[in-house]
């Protein structure tokens, strides 16, 4: 009997803006000049937030913090495509997405300052709490997508995770379930190429992460994660597809974690200065500045204004965060159960 070919596959890689900031106009997403400017402001805000958070940690004013430097395009670009009715399941490194969706900045800082009250998402935002256990938020997104399907709601779900999460069982179980039921969910992997000290080739032997989706029966696309226009376009398409009932999509945003894994990590122990320098040249913010500058829409002076505004916003947020009253010991018990057990109630009273 002859051997037959049962499957062959291709994986697409999408990029719109090259490193010099010139765009492939045939691939440009529909965005007004104001919207692109807003994206730029949000990326700068995310960068400034990150820089401030790292320095606050160094001063002992925040706890351990995971920097997002380098991933601003992947986060802002994808979150910019969301509608208010969509649901978002973040990992612990999506502060750029939070800022884009309007999560209160003092609250973001408060969380990393060790105050759990900050995980109470404002009622108008469908954002789940940060998920510190790697990849375990992925099945939650699939569950929300099942509920959306059951309720016939016109919404979609986005779940964020990193390249390390693709090694976890929950990633595979959730992708499989989403494929079986063809659910309205968009899996967004921010492949920043390092899971603490282990590089991508230590996580997977496959040529791309995007191709893993094919094993589960749906589309996987690799996107230039430092290209905000490509990330936005790919996410928008995937969300529209999800909302129309055409099933899940897996987006691999290929980007780079320019800083340490967290403020408790020293990336100098495991990766070279040359690699970091190479990716610094691919900075997502510089790229959009070059694109905007080419049409006269950006000048260094305007860039300074945007940055100053972001810093002022963060200054105010830091003040608000630090003015928040310290949680009381009784708040340990808040929300453990709708009604505390007898023992918990006694312990809450200090007995």
């Amino acid at each position: 009997m002859p051997e037959e070919i049962l499957a062959t596959f291709q994986i697409k890689r999408l990029s719109v803006l090259n490193e010099n900031g010139s765009a492939d106009l045939s691939l440009m997403p529909e965005l007004s000049a104001d919207e692109i400017w807003r994206m730029y402001q949000l990326m700068v805000l995310a960068r400034c937030f990150d820089e401030r958070a790292v320095s606050l940690q160094r001063e002992g004013r925040l706890g351990t913090y995971p920097p997002i430097r380098g991933q601003e395009a992947a986060q802002v670009g994808s979150a910019f495509a969301l509608k208010a009715s969509d649901w978002v399941f973040p990992s612990f490194r999506e502060m750029g997405a939070h800022l884009t969706l309007g999560y209160p900045i003092p609250q973001l800082l408060q969380y990393w300052g060790g105050d759990e009250r900050a995980q109470k998402t404002p009622p108008d935002l469908n954002i789940f709490p940060f998920c510190v256990a790697v990849g375990s938020q992925i099945p939650h997104a699939v569950g929300a997508a099942l509920a959306i399907r059951y309720r016939r709601d016109p919404a979609a779900v986005v779940v964020y995770f990193g390249d390390g999460a693709t090694s976890k069982g929950d990633f595979h179980e959730a992708m499989n379930m989403a494929g079986v039921y063809q659910l309205p969910v968009v899996f967004i992997c921010q492949n920043n190429q390092w899971a603490i000290s282990v590089p991508l080739k230590g996580q997977t032997a496959s040529a791309s992460l995007a191709q893993k989706a094919l094993g589960y029966g749906f589309e996987g696309v690799q996107v230039d994660g430092n290209d905000i226009l490509a990330v936005y376009r790919a996410t928008l398409n995937a969300l529209e597809k999800a909302r129309s009932g055409a099933g899940p999509t897996f987006l691999e945003c290929l980007t780079y974690r320019m800083a340490d894994h967290t403020t408790a990590d020293d990336a100098g122990r495991y990766r070279s200065d040359e690699e970091v320098a190479l990716w610094s040249g691919r900075d997502p913010i510089l790229r959009l500045e070059r694109f905007l500058a080419a049409s006269g829409a950006w000048t260094p002076e305007q860039g300074r204004v945007v940055k100053d505004e972001a810093i002022a916003l963060i200054d105010r947020a830091v003040g608000e965060m630090e003015a928040a009253p310290h949680p009381s010991p009784a708040e340990l018990f808040d929300g453990v159960l709708a009604t505390l057990t007898q023992r918990q109630a006694e312990q809450r009273k200090g007995r």
Partner: protein
């Protein structure tokens, strides 16, 4: 009133609640078309459709994790894990997420789900199909653990669990599924979670049991002036009922089919020692399985506490 076994009583509770509340959705392995490996969900997919009784792929962690997302979105999912030993694959979802979601999100999201799983030994099943590790789950704040001991309590507790605003682990003693028939009222009744039941009145010794051990204890106490408490909810414990009984009898024997070390008996004994020391007339004894993995069928009778060991413990505390 109809005489039902536990399988029928649980099926009736699920069907009634699904008819009453369209947020209730079942998901798990083989529970749809097949009606579950113990036939507990028989007929429910036919009646409520495949969107409400979902046959899932084989993936305990995703079943539990998806249930968390469904619950947060506003449904009332009832994930079934086919055997308690298979919940181990879903520990992270149950412990790190289901039990903590309300607290992590400070009440913005809650997780009203009921995990149903058959548990306990004595059914001649393969390895990991007869586990009794309920104490592990009782150690997790935010998770309620419920164990019925017969058809009547199964229906009443399940209806209460399905309406509870927090996650509940509902352990179904496999050995009892078809062993006992009881009168089970049609329609709605609830047994409050966190309340134990006085299964037998007595004044010389309190015997605490739950699940399939209750049946063994009741068969073993003939001739003793023993008060038997059927715990029904393992977390939170009904301390009031336990203390009132032990303050009266002055003696306590705790019988469980889980192993001794760090079993729930340890928690109960420590609480009685803390709260009722001056009423005790004898050491608190535990009758448990030995500290070994659950054996296969040939040695299961030596593993599970039997009437001889229960009576020996009663004789021992009554010497004081």
């Amino acid at each position: 009133m109809a005489q039902l076994n536990m399988v029928q009583a649980i099926n009736q509770a699920l069907a009634d609640e699904m008819a009453r509340d369209d947020r209730v959705v079942l998901l798990g392995e083989d529970l749809g078309r097949d009606g579950g490996v113990f036939r507990v969900t028989e007929g429910l997919q036919e009646r409520f459709g495949p969107e409400r009784v979902l046959d899932t792929p084989l993936c305990e962690s995703a079943i539990m994790g998806a249930a968390v997302g469904m619950a947060a979105y506003g449904l009332r999912p009832v994930p079934e894990i086919q055997f308690m030993g298979f919940t181990y694959s879903a520990f992270e979802q149950l412990f790190a997420h289901a039990a903590r979601l309300r607290s992590r999100s400070r009440g913005r999201f809650s997780c009203p789900l009921v995990v149903r799983t058959p548990y306990g030994g004595g059914i001649k099943a393969p390895e990991l199909h007869e586990e009794s590790t309920e104490a592990i789950f009782c150690h997790i704040p935010g998770l309620k653990v419920v164990v019925p001991s017969g058809p009547y309590s199964a229906k009443g507790l399940l209806l209460a669990a399905l309406r509870d605003p927090d996650p509940v682990l509902f352990l179904e003693p496999t050995r009892l599924y078809r062993m006992i028939k009881e009168e089970v009222p049609e329609g709605d009744y609830q047994l409050e979670l966190g309340k134990a039941r006085l299964a037998r009145k007595g004044s010389a010794v309190t015997v605490v049991a739950w699940g399939s051990m209750l049946e063994r204890v009741l068969k073993s106490v003939d001739g003793y002036d023993a008060e038997v408490i059927d715990l029904l909810t393992l977390n939170p414990l009904d301390l009031e009922t336990l203390l009132a009984s032990v303050q009266k009898t002055g003696r306590a024997v705790i019988v469980h089919e889980a192993i001794k070390t760090c079993g729930l008996g340890a928690e109960i004994a420590a609480t009685l020692a803390e709260e009722a020391m001056l009423h005790l007339r004898a050491p608190i004894l535990r009758v448990t399985a030995p500290d070994v993995p659950v054996p296969l069928a040939k040695l299961i009778d030596q593993y599970l506490p039997g009437p001889d060991r229960i009576r020996a413990a009663l004789d021992e505390v009554l010497k004081y």
